[in-house]
Amino acid sequence: MAQSDNANPEVMTTSDGTPLKESLRRSMRRNRIKALLLVAPLGLFIFFSFVMPILTMMYRSITNPEIIDHLPRATAELRAWTPAESDLPPESFFRAISLDMLTADEEDRHIGRAGGQLNYEIPGARSMLGRTGRAVTSLDEPPDSWKDFILEQHRLWEDPATYQIMQRQMNPITAQYYLNALDFRYDAEGNIERQPEFQRIYVELYWRTLWVSALITGLTILLGFPVAYLLANLPMRISNLLMILVLLPFWTSLLVRTSSWIVILQSQGVLNDILVLLGVVADDNRPRMIYNMIGTVVGMTHILLPFMILPLYSVMKGIPPSYVRAARSLGANPVVAFFRVYLPQTVAGIGAGSILVFILSIGYYITPALIGGSSGQLISNFIAYHMQSSLNWSLAAALGGILLVAVLILYYFYNKLIGVDKMKLG
C-alpha cells in the first residue's frame, strides 16, 4: 500500500505536505499524551501515597529477615550443618551464636527480634534466646564448652527440631505466614501440616466474614428494594423528601451511628427499656443485643443500606412504568408482572448494590470493633489485632493479602459488569 509513500500524489496531504493519515496519527498521539498528562499527577500521587504502601506491606508477608540480620554468624555456621550428621550442631555453632549475642549491642542488632521471629514457630524461643543472651553477656570468662553452657540454659536447645526450624527461618523468602493465615504450618522437617486443633481460627474467620457479608447483602436487598421502588415511583416532591431519610444516614458520621446503636441496644439502652416497659421482657432478663454478632449485623446493615438503595433507585428511576402496565393489560396478574417484567430490569441495580455492599462488608473494621464483642469480630479485626497487639506484622500482612485478593476479584467483576465510572453517589 501507498500509505507510507510521500511521493505518491494520490495520498491526501495536509497543507504542509504531510500525509493526512500521518498527521492524524500525530495529533491523536498528542491528544493521548495530553490526556495522560492530565491523569498523571493523580496517578503518581495515588501510586506513592496508596499503592506503594500496600505493595511494601505485601512484601512483608513473604520475607523473613530477622534471623539472618540478627544472628549472622550463627546463620553461617548453621548453613554448613545438616541434621543427618548429628543430632545437635557442633561447638562452632554455639561459639558463633554466643559471639552474635555478645556483639549484638555494638552492631545494633537485637537477638530478641530473632527470638520473636522464632517464637511464632517454636513457642518459648523468645525466652530461650532472651535467657541465654542474658547468661552469655553476664559471663566473666568464656566457658570450656559453649555448647554445654548454652544447652544448660533452656530445654529447647536440646531439641533437634529447634535447629531445623532455625535453618528454614534462614531462608529470606517464606510462605510461612500465608500458611499460618490458612491454618497450616511447617512441621520440623519442613512438611506442610494443619495447625493443632486449638489454633485453627483463620479459615473459620474468613468463612464467617464471607457469611456475614452475604447476610448483610441479603438484608440490605430485603430492606432496600421496596424502599427504592417506593422512592422511584412516588411523585418527585414526596420522594425527594423521603430521600433525605436515606441520604442523611449516608452523610452522618460512622461513629455517630455506631454510638447511637450502643445507646439503643445496650442492656440498659432505649430498646430494652421500651421492651421492659411493655412487659415483653423481664427487667432482670434483658436480651443481649450488642457486643455480639447481632450488634455487628444490625450496625453494619444500617450503615450499608444506603449503598444498596441508591444504585437500585437510579436503575428503577429509568424503568418506564408502561412495561408493567402493558403486561397487566395483557392479562398478567400483578405478581407475575412483577417477577417476569419488572424484576429482570432491576438486575443491574441489584448487582451493583450487592457487589458494593459485599465489598464494603468483607473489609469492615470499625463497627465490629466497637459493638461486635468477641463473637462479632471479622477478619479485619484480626488484622488490626496482629498489627497493634500481637505485633506479628507479617501474619497481619498475609491475612490482609488474602483479603485484598478477595476484594480485588470482586472489584474486577464489578468493573467488568457495571463499570467503576457508573458508580452513583447520592
Partner: protein
C-alpha cells in the same frame, strides 16, 4: 403510585402493607440518628430517657454536655485538627481529581479503564489494609505522625469521590464548547477557567464535599498514622466509645449530625441548580 380506584381487597391490603413495611425501613434508617439528639440534652449522665425528660420537666434537660465539649481543650484541638486536615485534603483531592477526571473523559485516553480502576481503588480496598500499609510506609519516609502524612492519606481516600462525581458531570458536558472557545482564539488556560470550570463547578463542589466528609469521618487510618498533634474528632470519639461513652459524645454526635445536614442541604441545592441550568426540569 396512588391506589387505583378498581383495586380489590387484596391489592388494598398489599398497598398499605407495602407502605407500612417501607415506613419501618425508614424508621430503622433514621431513628439511630434522631435518638441521640434529645439524649444529648440529658441532665443526667445516662443514656436512657429519665422520667424528668419524658415528663418534660426543665430540670431533666440541660446543656451541660455541650458546655463540657466547648470548654474542653482536647475536643477543641480535635475540631481544629479535623478541619485543617479535611479542608486541606478536600482541596488537594478536588484539584488532582478534577484534572484526572478531565483526562479520563477525553476520547483519546489510553488504558482508560485500568487507570480508572486504580484511581478508584482507595475507595474499594478495605481501610484496615490501607492503614496497615501506610503505617509502615509513611513511617519509613518520615510522614507518620505529621499533618502532611494524614492529609496525603485522606487526599488519597477522597479522590475517588471527586473522580466519580466530576466524570459524571463531564459526561453531560458538550465538548464542542471547548472547540468553540479554541476557534474563537482562547488559549487552553482561558478555556478551562472561562468555559469548562463554570460548567463542571457543581460537580467539583459535590466532589469536594464528599472528600471533606470522608476525611472528617475517617477513623481507621488516622488511628494508625496520626500522632498526638493530629488527634481528630473521630479519634476522640473512638477512644471515648471504647473507654467511657459519656453524654459528651452524644453532644459531639449531635453537632456532627448538624454538619451533615448542612452539607447535605448544600449538595441538594447544587444538584437542583445544576439541573435547572442544564434544562433538566424535575418532573
Amino acid at each position: 403510585m396512588a391506589l387505583p380506584a378498581y383495586a380489590g381487597k387484596l391489592e388494598t391490603a398489599w398497598y398499605y402493607g407495602f407502605r407500612f413495611y417501607c415506613g419501618l425501613v425508614f424508621f430503622f434508617l433514621i431513628t439511630p440518628i434522631l435518638v441521640i439528639i434529645p439524649l444529648s440534652f440529658n441532665a443526667q449522665p445516662y443514656f436512657s430517657f429519665t422520667t424528668e425528660m419524658l415528663t418534660l420537666q426543665p430540670e431533666g434537660w440541660s446543656l451541660r454536655w455541650y458546655e463540657d465539649f466547648l470548654t474542653s481543650e482536647r475536643w477543641m484541638q480535635g475540631i481544629r485538627n479535623s478541619f485543617i486536615i479535611a479542608i486541606a485534603a478536600s482541596f488537594l483531592a478536588t484539584s488532582l481529581g478534577t484534572l484526572a477526571a478531565l483526562g479520563l473523559s477525553r476520547a483519546y485516553m489510553p488504558f482508560r479503564n485500568a487507570f480508572m480502576a486504580m484511581l478508584i481503588s482507595p475507595m474499594i480496598v478495605p481501610l484496615i489494609i490501607s492503614a496497615a500499609g501506610m503505617y509502615f510506609f509513611y513511617s519509613d519516609v518520615g510522614l507518620a505522625q505529621t499533618f502532611p502524612g494524614v492529609i496525603l492519606a485522606h487526599t488519597a481516600l477522597g479522590t475517588p469521590f471527586v473522580i466519580i462525581v466530576v466524570t459524571a458531570t463531564l459526561m453531560g458536558f458538550d465538548q464542542s464548547l471547548v472547540r468553540a472557545a479554541a476557534i474563537s482564539g482562547a488559549n487552553p488556560k482561558t478555556t478551562f477557567f472561562k468555559v469548562t470550570m463554570p460548567l463542571i463547578a457543581p460537580g467539583m463542589i459535590s466532589g469536594a464535599l464528599f472528600a471533606f466528609i470522608t476525611s472528617l469521618d475517617e477513623i481507621v487510618i488516622v488511628n494508625f498514622i496520626a500522632g498526638a498533634g493530629q488527634r481528630t474528632v473521630p479519634m476522640r470519639m473512638f477512644a471515648g466509645i471504647r473507654e467511657e461513652i459519656s453524654p459528651t459524645i452524644l453532644a459531639v454526635a449531635t453537632i456532627l449530625v448538624t454538619i451533615s445536614v448542612i452539607l447535605l442541604t448544600t449538595l441538594e441545592m447544587i444538584r437542583r441548580r445544576n439541573e435547572r441550568i442544564r434544562g433538566i426540569v424535575p418532573q
